[in-house]
């Protein structure tokens, strides 16, 4: 029987159902006989021959039926099934036939990109954080050190610069002139408040107020204060350097804050230098070569870092600033004026 099937020209035309029916009729099999052989319902077979896919079970089953039917009739099941295109609507909805939506080709580059960006951000943070911290401390330090705001440009600068609390004005004169009693002290206040305008014009030539020795400073201060001349504060400022040397004058330097003073650097050796003044400006931040002479205008207090302290001579307001106490180390970090002991931001020679 199979031989007959092989030689017999397969009914080529028409769909699967028609071909099956013709093959069945060619073998003079009734639909009941086939149903009995395949254990299928007569109705199922009739639907199959009618190609009534909607009424038939899902394609998995229909393919199986066709395969079995074809084998029974001696047809080639695969050839027959090649023409079987399961109707799209009947496929079972749940059989998870929506793979395309989820098939992300396991992202090769995306996580790498995310990782890269993350690393970049981390690196940036690592680089910026110390700078930020430095800025923060420099902002905090003037607040703790007793500062007088009358910066030359204080009218604008104090308002915009957050780091200058002007509240310390009354305290400053009191601290600056401990020796002269009540009389000169109030006199300083007008002087310092008048300062901004006057000093604004003549801030750079301030070195004109060089009263060198510390003990005389109070006297000078009171003297200048009575005259109402701008350089009411220089004495205090100049008193600052000795302050580090003389414990008695430690309260002096506070008064110097907020003024603009010239700072001069002479380098006998290469040194890394950083100067940051009270307004957060970086006056210099880098390597300076030996033999150089540099001059900056800085608003006190100034944070100073000297990379090679033995190769630098520092002059503040025309007077040498003592860089003693750094015998052992090369790097010096301090502020001008030197802060009184106990201040958190303190970083004197003892540091």
């Amino acid at each position: 029987m199979t031989e007959a099937a092989e030689t017999e020209p397969e009914a080529e035309g028409g769909g699967i159902g028609q071909r099956l029916r013709r093959a069945r009729e060619a073998r003079s099999l009734s639909i009941e006989q086939v149903a009995g052989q395949l254990f299928l319902d007569r109705s199922t077979l009739e639907r199959l021959e009618r190609e009534d896919w909607e009424a038939l079970p899902p394609p998995t089953f229909v393919q199986g039926y066709i395969r079995n039917y074809a084998r029974l009739l001696g047809l080639d099941p695969e050839r027959l099934l090649a023409g079987f295109h399961p109707p799209q609507p009947p496929p079972a909805p749940g059989a998870g036939r929506s793979p395309a939506r989820r098939l992300q080709p396991v992202l090769g580059w995306r996580p790498l990109l995310i990782l890269l960006v993350l690393l970049l951000v981390l690196g940036l943070a690592w680089y910026l954080l110390p700078l930020l911290q430095q800025r923060l401390t420099s902002a905090r330090a003037p607040a703790t050190g007793v500062t007088v705001p009358p910066v030359p440009e204080a009218g604008a600068g104090a308002a915009s610069g957050p780091e200058k609390p002007p509240v310390s004005t009354p305290a400053a004169p009191a601290a600056s002139s401990p020796v002269p009693a009540g009389a000169p002290a109030p006199a300083v206040v007008p002087g310092s408040t008048a300062g901004p305008g006057a000093a604004g014009a003549g801030s750079s030539p301030v070195p004109a107020a060089p009263v060198p020795a510390a003990p005389t400073a109070p006297a000078a201060a009171s003297a200048s204060a009575t005259t109402g001349v701008p350089p009411s504060e220089p004495p205090a400022a100049t008193a600052a350097p000795p302050a580090s040397a003389m414990p008695a004058a430690t309260t002096q330097p506070a008064a110097a804050s907020g003024r603009t003073v010239p700072i001069e650097l002479d380098l006998s050796q290469d040194s890394w230098v950083s100067l940051r003044d009270a307004r957060g400006r970086r006056l210099v931040h880098g390597l300076l070569r030996a033999g150089g002479h540099f001059r900056y205008q800085a608003v006190l207090p100034v944070a100073v870092v000297l990379g090679n302290v033995h190769g630098v001579t520092l002059q503040v307001d025309g007077r040498p600033f003592p860089l003693t106490g750094y015998n052992r180390r090369r790097v010096a970090r301090f502020r001008i004026p030197v802060e009184p002991a106990g201040t958190p931001g303190r970083s004197g020679p003892s540091d």
Partner: protein
Amino acid sequence: MLGFKRFLGLFSNDLSIDLGTANTLIYARGQGIVLNEPSVVAIRQDRGSGAPKSILAVGVDAKRMLGRTPGNIKAIRPLKDGVIADFTVTEKMLQRFIHKVHEGRFLRPSPRVLICVPCGSTQVERRAIKESAAGAGAREVYLIEEPMAAAIGAGMPVDEARGSMVLDIGGGTSEVAVISLNGIVYSASVRIGGDRFDDAIVNYVRRNYGTLIGEATAEQIKHDIGSAYPGNEVLEMEVKGRNLAQGVPRSFTLNSNEILEALQEPLSGIVGAVKTALEQTPPELGADVAERGIVITGGGALLKDLDRLLMEETGLPVIIAEDPLTCVARGGGRALEMMDERGMDVFAVD
């Protein structure tokens, strides 16, 4: 550690693994079947009691060594009857397979893995499978019952409120289950599968020919001339084996009717399981099965005329799924997708 594994997971595919007694198949999502190798591991242990063991080969290479190894090499099948017989070796094998699939990747793979387990396996056996997959580098391990995966892989409408019966004949076990509404209504597992067919052939040949043949030869015989139902034509095959009486290799000829006879015992076990399942199925679902038929999956479905035998025995339509060998792995892959889409562990079992 978990976070790191998750990170590595970005570079790994989700895998569905059909960890079978005879073959292990891996289906990668979006890529289809990426691995189909025998579950065989060759272990080398050099002489001396303290010498370390090392994995010599896995899969096809190891299978070639089965029964042909010298004293210091052992080719073993770490799974028996669908469950793990040798825990460490299974872990190593899985590890090798997972690595093989991820070959050329820069990072250590850490995929989510869904593994099919026989529905008759015990909690201990399931845990063993889960742990060996975790030990092989899987980030998360889900288990699914084999018949469910097989039914999904065969394209049966498992989520409909209609009964579908699936018979999965694997290497070690045969599973029969009735599924409706994404759940298993009835399932049974018999420890009869392709291996038992091979054993039956070996035993038959020894009994009737006084000749010993190896498992690999028996498998070859099964593939070439094995059948489950008397056919129109008789196939013959020449086989070589060691004659027990003479002690020398001899060749002889086997025909398909003999093999049919040899396979009677394991086949009747499978038929019995199917009949029992039909008896136990609630009537509504039984009617659905009778209308649509039973679907056979697994390597055993390739045995010639097995569907004919079941049709005659049960009086129901029986159809063989398309590509029956890979049904379980494909179904597992699709189950993973479905679980993702619906955001729940629809099919997973513990």
